[in-house]
């Protein structure tokens, strides 16, 4: 296996060498995509981790809207359906199709790493969205654009410590699908954030696999065991919605915090505006930034791009929710 990897690297180097000779510009920085052109037609392949999650559908929608603004861009979205094997095969399909840029939100990091390497070896720039594969942006893949799960949950924890429960009290966490990277990061982020206030205890944490029905059941049980829970941190908006039903059912006034800040009638922004939840922390999609970067590479013949673009979270609270609803 070592030899194969080395052979393909060698091949890539030789091909790159040949390309340089033809171009005759051995020293000048090469554009990331040689076929770049102001008025060219380009295919952008987006390998999505799992369309079944509303957040990911939201990413798809924003990407489609942003890509539509650029006349020469055609966006193709493949749904990995929450399965690393399916997603790997879809990335390979994009390589076969020779898409001009690969955007990817890997379902899990390590399993998709070899597929991303194959795309890079085939000369396709890879922009990773929201989730990373193993390695360094700018080297093992072209760039990473996304939010920081840990930091977002940390903000939610600090907000709880300072604003919601300055006098302390019991809190609980609904975790995403156990074993998945963002679930672990958001859980740890919140727990670290509330540490700012020593009078706060996290009395319960349960996994609800990102879905509202499981969240409702889990939070109802938590409220039975710990009737004094004052704040619930839900690792995504859908679980926050389920938790709200449980709190109403138990007749408890619990302050609920969501994560993602999805738009639309079922999303977190509206729930905060209506006063159902205390807050939600947006998880920025990075869609606009990804299309902007694609324009730089494909239309403006960029020779390099920012390897890491961190899109900041916005805290959506009663103060700004109504105003953000229209957006």
């Amino acid at each position: 296996m070592r030899t194969i990897t080395r052979a393909s690297t060698l091949k890539a180097v030789l091909l790159a060498g040949a390309g340089l000779c033809i171009a005759g510009t051995a020293d000048a920085a090469e554009p990331l995509v040689k076929a770049c052109a102001k008025d060219g037609q380009f295919i952008i392949g987006f390998s999505q981790a799992n369309n079944a999650e509303p957040y990911r559908q939201h990413v798809n929608d924003e990407l489609e809207a942003a890509a539509k603004e650029v006349p020469g861009f055609t966006l193709q979205i493949a749904d990995g359906a929450g399965n690393v094997n399916t997603q790997t095969s879809q990335v390979d399909n994009f390589i076969t199709q020779k898409v001009d840029i690969l955007l990817i939100s890997p379902f899990e990091a390590a399993p998709l790493t070899p597929a991303v390497k194959r795309a890079m070896d085939a000369g396709i720039p890879v922009i990773e969205l929201d989730r990373k594969t193993v390695g360094d942006p700018g080297k093992d893949y072209t760039a990473f654009i996304g939010g920081d799960n840990y930091k977002i949950a940390l903000e939610a924890g600090k907000y709880t410590a300072k604003t919601l429960l300055p006098d302390g009290g019991e809190t609980a966490v609904l975790e995403g699908l156990p074993s998945s990277t963002p679930a672990v990061e958001r859980l740890n982020g919140f727990k670290d954030g509330v540490k700012e206030n020593a009078k706060i205890q996290v009395v319960a944490e349960q996994a609800a696999d990102w879905v509202p029905d499981k969240a409702q059941v889990a939070f109802a049980a938590m409220l039975q065991a710990h009737p004094d829970i004052k704040v619930l941190y839900a690792s995504n908006d859908m679980m926050a919605a389920g938790a709200l039903l449980a709190a109403k059912g138990a007749g408890k006034d619990v302050k609920i915090i969501g994560t993602d800040g999805l738009p639309g009638p079922a999303g977190g922004i509206e729930a905060v505006a209506k006063g159902d939840w205390a807050a939600t922390f947006t998880y920025p999609t990075g869609a606009k930034e990804a299309i902007e970067m694609s324009k730089k590479i494909l239309l403006d013949c960029a020779t390099e791009v920012e390897p890491t673009v961190t899109v900041e979270t916005t805290a959506i609270t009663a103060e700004n929710a109504k105003q953000l609803m229209g957006k």
């Binding site: 296996m1 070592r2 194969i4 990897t5 052979a7 393909s8 369309n51 193709q76 493949a78 749904d79 359906a81 929450g82 399965n83 690393v84 094997n85 399916t86 790997t88 095969s89 879809q90 390979d92 399909n93 390589i95 076969t96 199709q97 020779k98 899990e108 990091a109 390590a110 399993p111 998709l112 790493t113 070899p114 193993v134 699908l177 156990p178 074993s179 998945s180 990277t181 672990v184 996994a207």
Partner: protein, 350 residues
């Protein structure tokens, strides 16, 4: 000595010559091969082209198709045995997850070598399957229920073993690292053409074909599924055969789990979710009857590859995943309807 009686017991359903007279039966017998050929032709016709090259036939693309189906294919091979005995095994996807987690954690946190790890995981799969088979036969429970419980148990165990974390596999020498040779499962051999995962699938399929078609055990499997009472009277060790087929699916799921861990350098309790359904679909499309007593390994392999090729051509043409699901649904229904028609003609079905 008892062979004659057994084949007599299995005769109404397994006797091939009679079937061949019915053209419909002939179509059903080879339905997945026919389906595979049709999908391949469709793939060639509808394939996007680049500089005249048909992308669908690009060697990398073919390798991608057969690699992507190798895990569900390995599971489907095991599932074929179970379904021929008129059983079902819903636990396989979860056992794959458990196996990939155990593989990763034995090598990374346990410091075990490659060979002991692989052997232990395979034995674990066999034992897991055999326990399900034993419970099902001993207490006369529907395998559907027993393996549904098995699915939950395997996912639960996988979460316990992994401590709710995914386990990355890093390579190198020394404790806490997997030997680099394990990563070969994610590579291609023979001048970078044949994915190793596919080789495992094909070798396993070949062995399974021989076992099913040429050994006494294979005849027992058909006999139990064709008519369990007749088989019992003829002296077939029915319980033993049933327990064995679940041990085989357990082994297959464990093998697929090892392949999964090696391909993706990773063990997660969520691996293989829903694979049981893809595998059952491939087996049914392959012409194996859910009523038991009839089925073929070649059909299963063709059915598996057909589903992979279909997904591939739809993606190459940028057709939405919704359409992929609908197309798969239509094919499953078509395969089942064809089977039922044949059964009715033979006076077996209702």
């Amino acid at each position: 000595m008892s062979d004659e009686k057994i084949s007599a017991a299995g005769a109404p359903v397994t006797a091939a010559p009679q079937k061949h007279r019915d053209p419909l039966a002939l179509i059903v017998r080879f339905q997945s091969l026919i389906g595979l050929v049709l999908v391949a032709i469709g793939g060639i016709i509808f394939s996007p082209r680049r500089h005249g090259e048909i992308l669908f036939l690009n060697p990398d693309n073919i390798a991608n198709i057969v690699r992507a189906v190798s895990e569900t294919g390995i599971i489907a091979i095991g599932m074929t045995f179970v379904i021929i005995t008129a059983g079902i095994d819903l636990s396989v996807g979860a056992v794959l997850g458990l196996s990939s987690v155990v593989t990763a954690s034995m090598m990374i946190s346990g410091g075990f070598g490659l060979i002991p790890t692989i052997l232990a995981v395979l034995v674990m799969g066999i034992v897991f399957g055999a326990i399900q088979g034993t419970i099902s036969t001993r207490f006369r429970l529907e395998p559907f229920i027993v393996t549904l419980a098995g699915l939950q148990a395997a996912r639960g165990l996988a979460l316990v073993v992994s401590g709710n974390q995914y386990i990355n596999i890093s390579y190198g020498d020394g404790p806490g690292l997997a030997p680099p040779v394990f990563a070969v499962l994610g590579e291609r051999l023979f001048n970078n053409t044949v994915p190793v995962a596919t080789l495992v699938f094909i070798v396993f399929a070949a062995i399974a074909t021989i076992v099913l078609n040429t050994t006494r055990f294979g005849r027992y499997v058909f006999a139990v599924g064709g008519n369990e009472r007749a088989a019992r009277i003829s002296g077939v060790p029915v319980s033993m055969v049933k327990i064995s087929v679940y041990a085989i699916t357990g082994f297959a799921a464990a093998l697929a789990g090892i392949v999964h861990a090696g391909q993706f350098n990773f063990g997660s309790a969520n691996d293989g979710m829903g694979y049981e359904l893809t595998a059952i679909a491939a087996v049914v499309i392959g012409g194996t009857s859910l009523f038991g007593g009839a089925g073929s390994m070649v059909g299963t392999v063709a059915g598996t590859i057909m589903l992979g090729a279909l997904a591939n051509i739809l993606q190459l043409n940028n057709i939405t995943p919704a359409m992929q699901l609908l197309a798969t649904a239509a094919i499953i229904v078509l395969a089942a309807v064809l089977q039922s028609l044949v059964r009715r003609r033979e006076g077996l079905g209702r």
